[in-house]
Amino acid sequence: MTDELMKTPLHDTHVAFGARMVDFAGWSMPLLFRGIIDEHNHTRTACSAFDVSHMGRLKLSGGDSGALLDRLCTRNLAKPEVGRSYYTHMCNEDGGILDDLIVSRFETHWGIVCNASNREKIVNWINGHVGEMDATLTDETTATAMIALQGPRALALAQELTGIDPATIKRYWFTTHELLDMRITVYRCGYTGEDGLEIVFPSGLAGLIVPRVLGTTDTPHPVIKPAGLGARDTLRIEAGMPLYGHELSEDVDSITAGQGWCVDLETDFIGAAAMRRRKEMGLASKLVGLELAGKRTAREHYKVLSGAEHVGEVTSGVLSPTLGKSLAMAYVSIEHADEGARLEVEFGGKRVAATVVPLPFYRRRKEG
């Protein structure tokens, strides 16, 4: 790509903290700072700060914005609660997944967070369905920044930084703080399997907020350390969370992808009819977790075998830093997808034994 990469408001901070920057969906993003495994473990045991400003942040306003989103989202949004966030998919007429998103009900509008790689597609998709409805989409991605604070100490540290107790925000709810025309939104969400927050603020506040979170290179924050996309990926695989472009794509529907919990089939969203038919006919394959023997890591597109039969394909794999096991997610034909099924994964000419196990692989200990 010859085009210049987009930079987030935290870009210079990443460079100062020694990040290795990579191109991710047209953005210059940190792959790692100290090391992927180090950052992974720090997130599981303390608290990491991830720059997720590359993700799309859209605002949908107007009297019909709720009805429009309800039509586009797999989740039933007919009776939304103000202050709540919903994980959902948007699908095409065939039920193929266009993106997975978080939609949030504000008092005066809806907020939408989508994948960086799908932002243009989703903006066009939403705008293409407005028609006569009273709904206006604004892309706030470059006007704002977004930091994820993740880890068992994230909430207590956020309280120290802000004086606000984030434990009062329930999981998948959010709170906003407004001053003049500036809005800071704190979501109790994340993509690591840990408890934590995602904080959205105007880009212009980055110079004030980022040093409070990370400290400076001379005096870094004693606990909160920056983490990059590498650790974000290993953490989300352990947590069994799908990633668009790997587990999710337009070639699969939400139910096959194991995300049926965010699908309300009795509502009339785009793709619902196709998914109802798919469900009646029975799934041909589905997303499963695999635990592999030994310490090799299965990669995307590695074949899954049952005897001589090719029964599936790996979508993501990791030698789990937390669990010490080789784990993978894979699409497997339905007759081989039952928990405990004994399969094999092909590595070059060699085969490694694999067992179907439930997702997620890792679940954080809940306090109390």
């Binding site: 992927i36 590498g230 890591t297 030698l319």
Partner: protein
């Protein structure tokens, strides 16, 4: 990082050090750094005969898998068993303790076709 001038390089980031008719093969420090934390090394069996430009080993990291090519034809005479328990030796010392395997080369002059240290440094810059 320094690229030793006593050996040859393949564009796929292997280094080849010739001593007598034995060629020691490893992964360059640049490639190890790009891979990030190395988690596993799949090594071949000693005694195996390999052709030139054949995949002979695989180095896996927390991020990706790299295939290791032979560069010379011959017979595998030794593999670095220390990597079984300590694959991170490649991250720590790619050009020395992190070596992968040794081949008794049928024709060591095949290495003359590979890159010099200078050419490799240009290749990765």
């Amino acid at each position: 990082m320094k690229t030793p001038s006593d050996r040859r390089y393949r564009e796929t980031h292997e280094w080849f050090l010739l001593e007598g008719d034995i060629v020691t093969i490893g992964l360059t420090a640049h490639a190890a750094d790009e891979l990030t934390d190395i988690t596993y090394v799949d090594l071949p069996e000693v005694g195996k005969t390999v052709a030139i430009d054949e995949v002979v080993a695989e180095v896996e990291s927390v991020k990706a898998t790299a295939e290791i090519y032979t560069g010379v034809a011959g017979q595998i005479v030794e593999v670095n068993t220390a990597l079984v328990d300590n694959p991170e030796l490649i991250n720590d010392d790619a050009f020395n303790d992190g070596w992968l395997l040794k081949i008794r080369a049928d024709s060591p002059t095949a290495l003359d076709d590979l890159m010099s240290a200078k050419a490799y440094e240009k290749h990765i810059s």
